[in-house]
């Protein structure tokens, strides 16, 4: 479970974090627009995503297995920029029908105002095809600097589809027989006058 959580967290966090770098003027998954920027490049698939190239309602489809080269920064800071040490915190959460789960979080203090890295991930097949909404925010000195959300979908077909189809057929059969009338004898003359 922890491995799955870590893998999901990695890919999804990267996608959200990755969605942040200068691009088109009107789109941005970040609020306030441009407060944080980021981008990511999937090495095997060659896909590149930027936060400023998407709206919060966009669905970003990512490979199930790949290595991502990601970069992110706070507005006005170039990669590698450092500054006064300050407390930072934040998290990336996966929205569920009821509530949400935190798939990654960070905290403590830092002098870095921009960062980059590379991460390999391998997601389980049961996540394929599922449209997941991720949201996250970053705080500095207790103040929310930027937040954002985006939908992510893992490429491929989900093996659970076949199970769901099987269950659909079984439940249809159950409902058919449930709807057939059952006759129950409440009383008959022979019941009280045998023979």
């Amino acid at each position: 479970m922890a491995a799955i959580r870590r893998a999901v967290s990695a890919a999804l966090l990267l996608t959200v974090a990755i969605c942040a770098a200068p691009g088109t003027a009107h789109a941005d998954v970040i609020t306030p627009a441009g407060a944080c920027v980021g981008s990511g490049h999937w090495v095997k698939s060659g896909q590149t995503e930027r936060s400023t190239a998407h709206q919060p309602s966009d669905v970003i489809t990512v490979p199930r297995t790949d290595t991502v080269q990601w970069a992110g920064n706070i507005k006005g800071f170039a990669l590698g920029a450092v500054g006064p040490r300050r407390p930072i915190s934040g998290e990336v959460q996966l929205d569920l029908p009821i509530g949400s789960v935190t798939i990654d979080s960070w905290g403590r203090t830092s002098v870095r105002y921009a960062n980059q890295g590379e991460h390999h991930y391998d997601l389980p097949a049961i996540l394929s095809g599922i449209k997941m909404k991720l949201h996250g925010q970053h705080r500095e000195s207790g103040r929310v600097v930027c937040s954002g959300s985006v939908f992510v979908k893992v490429k491929g077909s989900n093996p659970l589809v076949f199970g769901a189809l099987g269950l659909l057929v079984i439940s249809g059969g159950m409902l058919f027989f449930a709807g057939r009338p059952v006759f129950r004898k409440l009383w008959a003359f022979e019941d009280v006058n045998p023979g």
Binding site: P97, K131, G163, L168, P181
Partner: protein
């Protein structure tokens, strides 16, 4: 004599139908993982399954041949 369906089977069938529909909608990407529909469908279809069992127009609603109509007992005969 009373005609009716099988409410427990209907409830289970409805619940399973709700779960399978939710699973299909989710795994095919038709609805997002945060959609309320995914948790609403199973209980709603659970209830509808019970209603279906009592009201479904499947099969005869009249008693099969050989069944006697309900008449009051007559001990004098």
């Amino acid at each position: 004599m009373r005609a009716r369906g099988r409410p427990i089977l209907g409830a289970l069938g409805g619940l399973l139908l709700g779960i399978s529909l939710s699973l299909l909608l989710l795994t095919t990407g038709r609805v997002a993982l945060d959609s309320k529909l995914l948790v609403i469908l199973p209980p709603v279809l659970f209830v509808l399954g019970i209603v279906w069992a009592f009201t479904a127009p499947l099969g005869p609603r009249k008693p099969p041949p050989g069944w006697r109509p309900k008449t009051p007992p007559d001990s004098s005969t």
